[in-house]
Amino acid sequence: MAFPAMMLLGAFLLLNSVSAWAEPSADEGLHVFKSANCVGCHKWSGEGGGGYGGAAANLRRTALSLDQIEHTIRCGRPATGMPHFDPDAYSDGRCYGLKKAQMSAATMPPEPDHYLRPADIDAVAKYVVSHIKGKGPPTFAQCQAFFGDGTRACDVYEKTSDSSGAQAGASAGSAHQHLKIESAPDANAGK
């Protein structure tokens, strides 16, 4: 009877090791990128950019390694708008050797809307490396992979990016309405 027990144990170990070691799926990372509102500052494409809220970094052009990206997400970046997603980032010197007491309101990175668990930080860091870093200008296909096809958010890429993108756009049987604008001529022209 030892044999089936061994098998069970083996299966248990296998399962356990799968959950402990498997790469987080891109879906998980994408989910965190949206729900932790990375998208709110860095945009869907990771390009970030200026605008009302000051400049979030362009993650497509980041030179950071996976470890450094994860570190940045955990610790935020002092004196910038990048939040720290580890609630204890400045409790014990784990981030840049700094503790809360040593920091001012101006240097302390902002708190995020909500903190992330280590597994989520891992997932989103890997997502940044696999889907954003070094990807060049955003394309229609990447945009659709982010948003799905229930939105016209990607139409601008459809019109400007390569032909494969354009085909993907044409075949997307999305439910959203494509109303056209019929505007009147310029009321102040020809005076």
Binding site: N37, V39, G40, C41, K43, W44, G49, G50, G51, Y52, G53, G54, A55, A106, E111, D113, F147, G150, T151, R152, A153, D155, V156, K159, H176, Q177, L179, K180, I181, E182, S183, A184, P185, D186, A187, N188, A189, K191
Partner: protein
């Protein structure tokens, strides 16, 4: 029936007839003209065409307001996020006709609520299925919608993704809709529609995304566009010479029109405010006065032709929109009867101009601190340092952001002064109340490169603000007959919701959840209630079954909690929400 009454009935019948024989309950163009003398209803966005937001209802007075309490509440939807926004909020003014209320949430769903019998019952909800990511990615300042307009058996509304939607009042079914704005170009719509005659008028948002702004009128019978007036002239049109660059900056010159305008039937004129030029903080990208940005426009309502304009901040370096509502007032100024157009500008100054010709009458700062200019020219109302010979204005050069001076503190901060939240005017006392943001903020210029094409749906701002200083607010009262400040009630938070005036009080809400009433004369607080969520919308009042109510939408939204929260750190704990509050006595 007297002779006179017969005649009146005949006129009403004619008017009704000319609009296709609407049923007795339908809102007519004539009713809209007389909305100011219809105290139980609130038929159009700013209460009346003059944008007074004054109600003569007098059951709730300064003597009994202490007994005001929650009569009922109604949970709404639309808090979900989209694009760059983590949640939606409520900025709308409820519209009430015969006890039926119409409100919108940030994503443009319309709710019809029966307010009879002392309770609020949802009759229907029209969800326009707004494309959240398409619109939310290019909404500079939140998932916002400021409400509906009524005409005939229709409820007219906008959706953030650029549609004008007509919904049947009884069934909640969409009767027709048309696309007016194009989110592919960075255009979205947040303003409530305005119905004038047989047209509905739309303003657009998007001056942070390189749009060329406009105001458009749609015919209610044909559903076709009657006119479209661009707020930035095309080459060869009047005003084009106020764009002096050689890289076609006017093609992306901004000038959005995202607050509902006002209308003077006696002169057939529509008054509408125009927003900032783009890029917001890099004025050297666009030398010249940049008409018609930061201006009030007076338009022929039938054709959209510009009759006159009045510009407040030529070659703006500060993001000082002039989108604010224009308040139309007939009052004597220093004894002289005047037709006035009042505007409280983001730049911190309140202006009265003669609305028949656009001539400056008076102006004064309504904020405690102005640093960008030392004041207004008493003859023209221009900023004192304005120099027509300069292509790029310097104003107070020590604080004006520029490529040479890229990090500066400006007062008021770029949100104002006064933002979209509406003022209120008491015509009995001739006092105008302004919901003020008392602020300074830091601008960092990041020059735009004219040799690079502008990217569609990307921010085009030439820099951005940060909030190193605390931001507060006030209700500031101005005597229209003298152009002098007569009172200021300071508040711990900025005014992000707007005002309602009644014969002896002023009502407002704060972003920490407080709703309050002030004495109209002393500005002393008489009553308050905390709703427990952020107030971002103006109060209004109406009667149902003969009883007076005060209503206000509650739910933090807009630009504040994303871009400006550091100026009000305590507000970080305010959670998103979406709730209608209705108050009454006993």
């Amino acid at each position: 029936m007297s002779r006179k009454m017969y005649a009146a009935a005949a006129i009403v019948a004619l008017l009704v007839g000319s609009h296709g024989g609407w049923a007795a309950d339908d809102v007519t163009a004539n009713q809209l003209l007389k909305a100011d003398s219809d105290p139980g209803n609130w038929l159009t966005h700013h209460k009346d065409y003059s944008a007074h937001r004054f109600s003569s209802l007098s059951q709730i007075t300064k003597d009994n307001v202490k007994n005001l309490h929650v009569a009922w509440t109604l949970q709404l939807g639309g808090v979900e996020g989209g694009g760059i926004w983590s949640h939606g909020g409520l900025e709308g003014t409820p519209i009430v006709e015969n006890g039926y209320m119409y409100v919108t949430d940030g994503w443009g769903s319309v709710y019809k609520i029966d307010t009879h019998h002392g309770e609020g019952k949802l009759l229907w909800k029209m969800d326009p299925k707004t494309d959240h990511d398409w619109a939310g990615a290019v909404a500079c300042c939140g998932v916002d919608n400021r409400g509906v307009a009524l005409i005939g058996d229709l409820v007219l509304s906008h959706s953030l993704d650029g549609r004008l939607i007509a919904t049947n009042k009884d069934t909640g079914q969409i009767a027709w809709q048309r696309q007016v704005a194009d989110p592919d170009k960075g255009e979205v719509v947040t303003a409530a529609p305005l119905v004038v005659k047989n047209m509905v008028i739309t303003g657009v948002s998007g001056a942070e995304y390189g749009i060329r702004g406009w105001i458009a009128a749609t015919d209610l019978t044909t559903h076709k566009e009657v006119w479209r007036t661009y707020t930035i002239p095309a080459k060869g049109e009047p005003g084009a010479n106020t764009w002096k660059d050689n890289h076609d900056a006017m093609a992306n010159g901004g000038g959005s029109t995202w607050v509902t305008g006002s209308y003077d039937p006696s002169s057939n004129t529509l008054f509408w405010g125009v927003g900032n030029p783009g890029p917001d903080w890099d004025s050297q990208y666009r030398p010249g006065d940049n008409l018609y940005t930061d201006s009030t426009l007076a338009l022929d309502v039938d054709t959209g032709k510009i009759k006159w304009h009045y510009q407040h901040t030529p070659n703006d370096d500060f993001d000082y929109d002039s989108v604010a509502e224009n308040v139309l007032v007939d009052a004597p100024v220093h004894g002289q009867p005047m037709h006035l157009d009042l505007e409280a500008d983001r730049n911190g100054f309140a202006y009265a101009v003669n609305r028949d010709n656009g001539q400056f009458v008076w102006g004064l700062p309504f904020v405690k601190k102005v640093t960008w200019t030392k004041g207004l020219d008493p003859e023209t109302g221009r900023p004192a340092e304005y120099d027509p010979k300069l292509d790029v204005q310097k104003y107070n050069a020590a604080v004006t952001p520029s490529r040479e001076h890229p990090v500066t503190m400006i007062c008021p901060g770029n949100m104002g002064g006064k933002n979209w939240p509406p003022t209120a005017y008491n015509p009995q006392d001739k006092i105008w109340y302004i919901p003020v943001i008392e602020s300074c903020n830091r601008i960092t210029v990041k020059p735009e490169d004219p040799s690079k094409p502008i990217k569609k749906r990307e921010f085009f701002t030439g820099g951005g603000p940060t909030q190193p200083e605390r931001i507060t607010g006030s209700v500031t009262a101005i005597d229209v007959t003298t152009g002098k400040e007569v009172g200021k009630h300071e508040t711990p938070y900025p005014m992000l919701g707007g005002l309602l005036a009644t014969p002896d009080m002023v009502f407002y809400g704060q972003p920490d959840g407080k709703v309050a009433a002030l004495d109209a004369k002393s500005l002393k607080e008489l009553w308050s209630f905390n709703t427990g969520a952020g107030v971002n919308a103006p109060p209004m009042t109406f009667t149902s079954d003969g009883k007076q109510y005060i209503a206000i939408l509650v739910g933090q939204g807009g630009a504040w909690d994303k871009w400006f929260i550091d100026g009000t750190p305590e507000l970080k704990r305010i959670q998103p929400g979406s709730m209608l509050y209705v108050f009454s006595l006993n």
